[in-house]
Symmetry: C2
Subunit: 679 residues, 2 copies
């Protein structure tokens, strides 16, 4: 008979011998097995539950006896009685090893829970948040050996959790004494460890049962989207968004920069309103999730460089002119209250991802973190479509990034019947190539407009306009139906053979819905709308093409469409339009809100933070504004689809009519490229 | 002929060989010589001035040729023309070594200037402030190789000054871009390095000529005293003080703690007013020194534990009851704005010295830092007299500390004719042992009251009351003149033989000045005043005696009286009163405001901060409140001087009359000790 036993942990497969009488939690720590515990082995938090296996384990050449673990003890019995323990489960801190045993660590008992991200590039993420809970029992004060309550609390964290060098904000120092006394010298600490500092963020009497929470914020020029995330397992408890209140200072970023140039001090006003917006959003999210603001201890923000500077209170004027110098680009970690985020815990921390370059922001870095093209052998083109498009091109060898000024057309702005994505907006369109008649679907209903019940289903909103994905489909469908020629001109009723093509001044428009007595709005696609979309898609394509030039490639293996809007784009229509290079349709995927996903990853994992901080140094930045080739590509990409590159993959699925309305159309527009978005 | 030369620096005596053509500044750095430079060797700051010596140096066996340094160059000529260079001086960054040479580094060119502290224990302090200026030349932005302005600034600091890991507050990040451009990419940085962080505090275009400034604050229960100090050489530019505005919540600390107990939230109000007080004081000091608030980048605060907690916004209620647990006691380093100190630089840092124990504060730590009993072989008793007395006893072997609740009597409070030290207050008294007639001096005049011209000299204020040092002398002189017996009773007119002893109720008072028609106030010393002083001095003596017991000694070698008030106490009178143990009078010295001196040391020197942080761990804390011996000593020390210890040294200079007024005095007071200040 030996005085130790073989312990095998599943699913990790870690194994080793431990002394008889060792608790399962101690054994896990000795063998480097990831077994959670908040109370540090006192039988109160139940985070260390394990499922012992008994009987024959042929695979391991092991027979586990029924008494391989110590019998259920009083602590476990009480826990089971009061809180309930799943059948077959034991508390790891109570059950002791008495013989060879196989122990399964269920997912919820793992500290570094592996979270499968549901995205195009399904990857496993490890939970490794900066802020975690630690239950400690603190020595009481002794007049004969004076020491401060905080010193004893820090000593308890060090002796019970091996975490040294604890520091505290004034905001939490003032809570230390009352909470220690209320908890009878037993408290749960929220401790943030990121970089060199170990900070006490908050503390609660006794054992805190609820997890800590964090916010992942995608701060866009137009909208601010936020997720409230539980920091123990990364689940999203609430998601919400609001318009960026800076919109009243300018729809796009450059008009906001101009506003500052024209109105000295205007940046302070924009800083104030965007911070107010974040506070509002935090309040909404906390309320939706049913938690209190002070339970939110971490905030991660991703945004473009102009929003970044305006959020931090830095005048963005340098970003509006060459050489587009950032004030700072490195990842930032500071107290959330410095951003006046008062809806959160007073000691909450903010982490802002690094920026990549003057026009390529933390949002692009978040996309790079989320999509990780550097982890793949094949060549990915990742396009995050917004008012500016962030474009990444790369594989395991090299990653390049640029930003391209697509303008707001893709978001339905500057489009005559355009509107933001909201119920009533046309999001899908099909045009019959023979009759030239359209049918469409609107947000809020699954019915097509020619299906029975459509009018009833949309009665509450009506059909109010066209959103971003709708306008892309409209233009592409018009091209496929021969309503539009390759140069982007809309034909006349006569040329097209449809009364829906109506003259308006010297050009034509294609009418999707006529106004009627019931109050329906007139919805059409005008020649101006086509031109706006042409400019936007040319900018997007030119950016992608520029990166391909720099990399010396003529084709990419896959295209990932990211962004809240990217998720809704039909790959076929994007390719008909010439937004993206020619690839097999199956190789075009949507990554959803990849920037938001990257923000959530940085919220849940310090490893992710360190990873993207390293990665941005390796990303090769390409400045579109100074590349003559960008202008060339931009001009060449005006046609639909553009003529500069072959689209053999597209030709396999779509035949585009060879029409030309130049000669006898109502207008006299040239071949395109007459306007430039940047000089 | 060799290609290197011998260089000897004075006064350090450092020497070594350097390659010919090496600049003096480079040579100094190679040889570890302390030669200042803000501009980093660009010939603009002139901080690196040296005085070369030529001719025979018998001591070094060296003859220095006239051409041992390169000729004065254009940079030096221009500097001399524009700014003026003292005869014989050279700029160390311009003059190059051409042969063996002796170079003197004048005091103003030393980084770590040695400052002689004028105090009882004259010691040399090295300037080593946390915040220093660095001139850097920053690379301009390049679109083709994008990097942020801050990154390039940090890189410049690293390459030009070997200081890495620069971080910046949001408050200074927003200044980086405009200042870099205004300075033509040449800027002076204020960088704070203390602990693990290297922080950019501020920056200015071009070379900043003025030094940085700091505040040393001695935050007392009654008064707040502050010094504005230049951080390059430690000189004090302005000193000022104001009443602690918390006084309206209670004269002494325990009444303020009681106020919080009775008025929940009252601590927040007290926190607010004391921070306002600091802002006011900072404004006064900046204005007196003719500098702007944002030039103040460091603040050091020393204070007792209750003031410490109230300043930090921590409820002090635990300090009012056993076991007197501090919330936190370690040294703190944080942003000054967290204390709402808005009159300073927005990124200014605050350093608060460590506390020693629940009743022994950062002010006592500052006294320990300033007086450093641990550096001496002889045994020092250091007494900082205030509303609480901080008492240190120690030598190189061991240092003990305690705090004793003397109450405000020594500060003239709770004394019938008492007043704070201000013009018109009696500060010195002599009583003729034969006639029992007094003469006195008041603050604001050097004349004694029996000298011609006294009335005229004091006409503007009159004689208004007795301050702390005056009441000590009054009581001691009354005892020496036989007006008071050893138990502290004032005799009647008959017993004493003076009409100045007047009956008031069942006791007597000694009248120093009668009220008259001209408006003069009646000033007397009452039996109640004597009792208050007896309680205060008993507490002080008992504390000192308790430390002596703990250390196992019967006598000390020297006594240091510290505190604003301590400086004014006459050693002889203190000993007649029995405030301090018996020592040769010559061994009693005054350290002035030792706590304030300690604050200035911590302001000017990181070494001093690290020193006191280590030292407080070695100081043995004694809690007077729980030591039965303290009560014994307190009771035994009631007599004047107390009877519990022999005073042979005192007997050599003073003979005390053996009078007793117990039997036939107007009063029937007992032997004393009937009141206790703590139960």
């Amino acid at each position: 008979m030996t005085d130790d036993a073989l312990v095998i942990f599943t699913p990790s497969g870690k194994r080793g011998r431990v002394a008889l009488g060792t608790s399962v939690l101690q054994a896990a720590r000795q063998l480097g097995v990831d077994l959670d515990s908040v109370c540090g082995g006192r039988g109160i938090c139940s985070k260390c539950q394990i499922a012992p296996g008994f009987g024959e384990f042929a695979k391991h050449g092991l027979t586990v006896a029924e008494d391989a673990l110590s019998p259920v003890n009083a602590v476990e019995e009480r826990y089971d009685r009061v809180r309930g323990l799943k059948p077959g489960r034991r508390l790891g801190c109570q059950a002791c090893i008495q013989g060879d045993v196989v122990l399964d660590v269920p997912p919820e008992s793992q500290v570094h829970k592996q979270v499968i991200r549901k995205s195009a590039t399904e990857r496993v993420m490890e939970m490794d948040p900066a802020s975690r809970l630690y239950y400690v029992e603190v020595a009481e004060p002794d007049m004969h050996d004076p020491s401060s309550d905080f010193d004893r609390l820090a000593a308890a964290l060090e002796s019970q959790w091996q975490i040294s060098g604890l520091e505290a904000d004034l905001s939490v120092l003032r809570k230390v004494q009352p909470v220690l006394r209320k908890g009878g010298w037993k408290v749960t600490l929220a401790v943030s460890q990121d970089g060199y500092a170990t900070r006490l963020i908050d503390l609660w009497p006794g054992l805190r049962e609820a997890p800590l929470y964090g916010l992942a914020i995608d701060l866009g020029s137009t909208t601010i989207a936020g997720h409230l995330v539980a920091l123990d397992d990364g689940r999203v408890l609430a998601s919400s968004g609001l318009m960026n209140p800076q919109i009243r200072f300018g729809e796009d970023l450059m008009s906001r920069v101009s506003y500052v140039m024209m109105n000295p001090g205007g940046d302070a006003e924009m800083t104030r309103v965007v911070r107010e917006g974040l506070n509002t959003l935090a309040g909404v999210l906390a309320s939706e999730a049913g938690i209190s603001g002070p339970e939110i201890v971490e905030v991660v923000v991703v945004c473009n460089p102009v929003m970044h500077h305006l959020l931090l209170g830095i005048d963005p004027v340098e970003l509006g002119q060459a050489p587009f110098a950032l004030a700072t680009g490195q990842a930032l970690n500071f107290a959330a209250r410095e951003l006046d985020l008062h809806a959160l815990n007073p000691a909450a921390r903010t982490y802002i991802l690094p920026l990549i370059a003057g026009h390529v922001g933390a949002d692009a870095a978040a996309v790079a973190l989320s999509e990780a093209p550097e982890l793949r052998e094949d060549l990915s083109l990742v396009v995050d479509v917004g008012t500016n498009a962030e474009i990444l091109l790369g594989n395991s060898t090299q990653v390049l990034a640029c930003s391209s000024p697509t303008g707001p057309a893709f978001e339905g702005a500057q489009i005559s019947s355009g509107q933001r994505a909201a119920p009533g907006a046309i999001e899908r369109i099909e045009i019959d190539p023979v009759t030239k008649e359209p049918r469409f679907r609107v947000i809020g209903s699954d019915l097509w407009s020619d299906e029975p019940g459509f009018a009833e289903a949309t009665a509450s909103t009506g059909v109010t306009g066209i959103c971003g994905s709708g306008i892309i489909e409209a233009v592409a469908e018009m091209r496929m139906a021969g309503i539009l020629d390759a140069s982007g001109l809309i034909g006349s009723a006569e040329q097209v053979g449809s009364e829906r093509c109506q003259a308006t001044g010297r050009t034509h428009e294609y009418v999707l819905q006529e106004a009627d007595a019931s109050g329906a709005a007139r919805i059409s696609v005008t020649q101006g709308d086509i031109r706006a979309i042409q400019l936007a898609k040319s900018a997007l394509y030119a950016g992608a093409r520029l990166l391909m030039d720099q990399m010396g490639v003529e084709k990419v293996d896959r295209v990932v469409l990211a962004g809240a809007f990217g998720a809704h784009i039909s790959p076929k229509h994007a390719m008909v339009l010439g937004m993206i290079p020619d690839v097999p349709l199956a190789a075009v995927t949507s990554a959803g809100n990849a920037a938001g996903t990257g923000a959530r990853m940085a919220l849940c994992s310090r490893l992710a933070r360190r990873g993207i901080e390293r990665q941005v140094h390796h990303i090769h930045k390409v400045e579109t504004a100074i590349e003559p080739k960008f202008q060339e590509h931009f001009v060449a990409a005006n046609a639909i689809p553009h003529a500069s590159d072959p689209f053999p993959e597209l030709a396999r699925i779509v035949t585009l009519p060879e029409v030309s309305f130049n000669a006898n159309g109502g207008g006299a527009e040239g071949g395109g490229g007459r306007r430039r978005r940047r000089g």
